[in-house]
């Protein structure tokens, strides 16, 4: 079967377009990913990391749904294995961009459509689409270009 066509960067995203956290965008940008990640920790771990700064070494994290292994730092590992499972990880008080970021973080950055993200964040899919389709890229949230 022919491979699915990769969405073009020039094609306007739709409700069927999948988005992900583009970590390369973070590397290129002047923003501090680690600092931003700390903001998503639960209160318990936020305090723990404040008193004991995390090690630099990376560790395996295994996506329980796909078996894919990601090499992550301890901070991200904690987010994936503990904080994102807390009931208030995504709540009405979380901003839309942060909610989407957290939803993707919790899913191991598995690309999702605005409709799927709406189910996880409780925000309207159209609003998510409008926010992520603008000229400005928020927190590295970008359309996913399939290349596998």
């Amino acid at each position: 079967m022919p491979r699915p066509m990769a969405p073009s960067g020039f094609v306007k995203p739709t409700l069927d377009t999948r988005f992900h956290i583009d970590y390369e965008w973070w590397e290129r940008s002047s923003h501090d990913l680690a600092l931003y990640m700390v903001g998503h920790l639960c209160a318990e771990h936020k305090e723990q990391f404040a008193t004991n700064p995390p090690e630099e070494a990376q560790i395996d994290w295994i996506d329980p749904q796909t078996g894919q292994v990601l090499r992550v730092d301890p901070l991200r590992y904690t987010l994936l294995t503990h904080c994102c499972h807390q009931p208030d990880f995504i709540s009405g008080r979380t901003s839309l961009v942060d909610s989407v970021f957290r939803a993707l973080l919790a899913a191991g950055n598995r690309p999702m459509t605005p409709v799927e993200l709406a189910e996880r964040t409780g925000r309207p899919a159209e609003t998510i689409l409008r926010t992520l389709s603008g000229e400005e890229v928020y927190r590295g949230l970008r359309p996913f270009i399939e290349d596998t």
Partner: protein, 528 residues
């Protein structure tokens, strides 16, 4: 979890291509069923097959080549990965796991065709895995069935199949059905001679293939549909037979017993194309040309679907030939056969209920068989004729807008000293007509003689226009002539669609525009 590819529009519409394996499968279905299939039927068969193939693929069944986090693998193993759209990847390296939380496990480095390298766990304890076959089963119930997919995308798939099959000489198509040539029942000259004799005994036809088969008892022991298809195919390739059925219906007629006016266009319909520049026509004249609907006008195909009724205004060549022009609008509503240039159908007189056999002759663009009806009601040139559809595609109603005949003043054409003359006369008229196009023709033979003489002498259209316009001007106080009147009058003695006439009205100095669709001769030309 990635959805199945066959569930997507992208799969069926944007990327669908008929593969050799698809053709092999369709061929086997045709062989097994011994029944010719339409492209739509094949599309459904193929869509069922592809959906079933995908659902039973090793990746779906959890077969040996689908990656499982709990499985163990070697360098060099090739696996499919559900999380990346079931893409196949090759294990290029294996390292020990680096997280005591998961216990003892290994990490596979997997290379994909795109060049991307991802890592996947192997030998993982089941408690660390949420991905199970159960999840796949849950999704199963949400999938569209092949029949639902066919409703959504079957048209595109059928088109793709049809395009592909047209490239294959070993498949034949008849009346929209396909079958392998090599599997057809053998139709020999004896069968065809018998078919000819049967049709001859029945006045040439029309007869269905089954009726012919029943009469001669041929092809016993062969699947009935295959026998019918094979005989159709044999007859299609023999010029003695003409397939004349309307859409979806195969009817046979003996070509030599078709009416003369169907085998050869009536002489008064003959048209030698006249060069003209359509760009010269004003928008009003273009509208007029479309309204007239001459079969030789280069009008765009009707886009209104199949209309319920179409009204045309008779011009002399059609009145004389007992025909109607197959204008784009009329073409769209008449019975259409799949590939037949001639279609036999029945016209029903909306007034009297009588039925008349009639023919659509597509290549030359006319409907034949209305002569008796026109004569019966003494229909004048310029009359309105309305054709209405019926639920039966092989029958149409014809409405001549009849009323009790009453004496009316109409333009009458006669030949005097080899010239066409017009005068207003009172005559009984029993139909509704277009005031601008109505012409009484008391002596059609004289008109036809003049037509023949002008044709033989090759008199140019411009000259005929000036002569006819001069005669028409005489019966109008201001000498103004409507473009439609000129078109109707010229067609008494020269077959021409409106385009060349209208273009000359605009372009030539002999004619002057006086407003609307009215024209007059310039002062110099007006002098007889």
């Amino acid at each position: 979890m990635s959805p199945r590819a066959t569930q997507s529009k992208q799969y069926w519409v944007e990327e669908f291509q008929v593969q050799q394996s698809d053709l092999d499968y369709l061929y086997s279905v045709l062989l097994e069923q011994e029944t010719p299939l339409t492209a739509d039927e094949m599309a459904l068969v193929l869509m069922r097959h592809r959906v079933e193939q995908e659902s039973q693929a090793p990746a779906r069944r959890g077969g040996s080549d689908q990656y499982q986090p709990t499985g163990t693998y070697q360098v060099g193993d090739e696996l499919s990965f559900p999380s990346v759209g079931y893409a196949r990847g090759k294990v290029i390296e294996i390292r020990p796991g680096d997280n005591p939380y998961y216990g003892s496990y290994m990490v596979l480095r997997v290379s994909f065709a795109s060049g991307k390298v991802l890592e996947f766990a192997s030998g993982l304890a089941p408690e660390h895995v949420e991905w199970t076959e159960q999840l796949v089963e849950e999704e199963e119930s949400t999938y569209l069935s092949p029949e639902e997919l066919f409703i959504e995308y079957g048209g595109e798939v059928a088109d793709a199949i049809e395009r592909e099959l047209e490239q294959h000489d070993d498949l034949v198509r008849l009346a929209g059905r396909w079958f392998p040539r090599s599997l057809l029942a053998n139709i020999n000259s004896g069968h065809l001679n018998l078919a000819e004799a049967i049709l001859d005994m029945h006045g040439g036809g029309p007869m269905t293939t089954r009726e012919i088969m029943e009469q001669v008892g041929m092809l016993g022991g062969v699947n009935e549909r295959l026998a019918e298809f094979s005989l159709n195919y044999g007859m299609q390739g023999d010029s003695r037979f003409d397939e004349v059925g309307p859409a979806g219906q195969v009817l046979w007629f003996l070509a030599r017993m078709e009416p003369e006016g169907v085998q050869h266009p009536p002489v008064r319909l003959a048209y030698e194309p006249i060069p003209s520049d359509p760009e010269l026509l004003t928008s009003d004249l273009r509208l007029l040309e479309a309204e007239i609907g001459d079969e030789h006008s280069n009008l765009p195909a009707a886009r209104t679907g199949q209309p319920q009724a179409v009204t045309v205004t008779l011009i002399y060549p059609h009145r004389r030939s007992g025909t109607l022009p197959l204008s784009p609008l009329l073409r769209s509503m008449f019975p259409t056969a799949y590939q037949s240039p001639r279609v036999r159908f029945t016209i029903v007189d909306a007034e009297g209920g009588q039925e008349y056999p009639a023919w659509v002759v597509r290549p030359e663009g006319y409907v034949y068989g209305l002569g008796d009806l026109f004569d019966r009601y003494d229909v004048p040139v310029g009359s309105y004729v309305t054709i209405q559809r019926t639920p039966d595609p092989g029958r149409v109603l014809i409405n001549l807008h009849l009323h009790k005949p009453r004496k009316e003043w109409v333009r009458s054409a006669r030949v005097e000293n080899n010239r066409l003359r017009f005068e207003n006369v009172q005559r009984p008229v029993g139909t509704d007509y277009d005031d601008l196009m109505v012409i009484d023709v008391p002596d059609p033979d004289a008109i036809d003689m003049l037509w023949r003489r002008l044709s033989e002498r090759g008199i140019p259209l411009e000259q005929i226009m000036v002569d006819v316009m001069r005669e028409l001007s005489a019966s109008s106080p201001q000498g103004h002539v409507h473009a439609k009147t000129l078109y109707s009058a010229i067609n008494l003695i020269r077959r021409s669609p409106p385009g060349p006439i209208f273009a000359r009205l605009v372009a030539l100095p002999q004619f002057g525009h006086v407003g609307g669709a009215y024209w007059r001769l310039s002062d110099r030309e007006a002098v007889p």
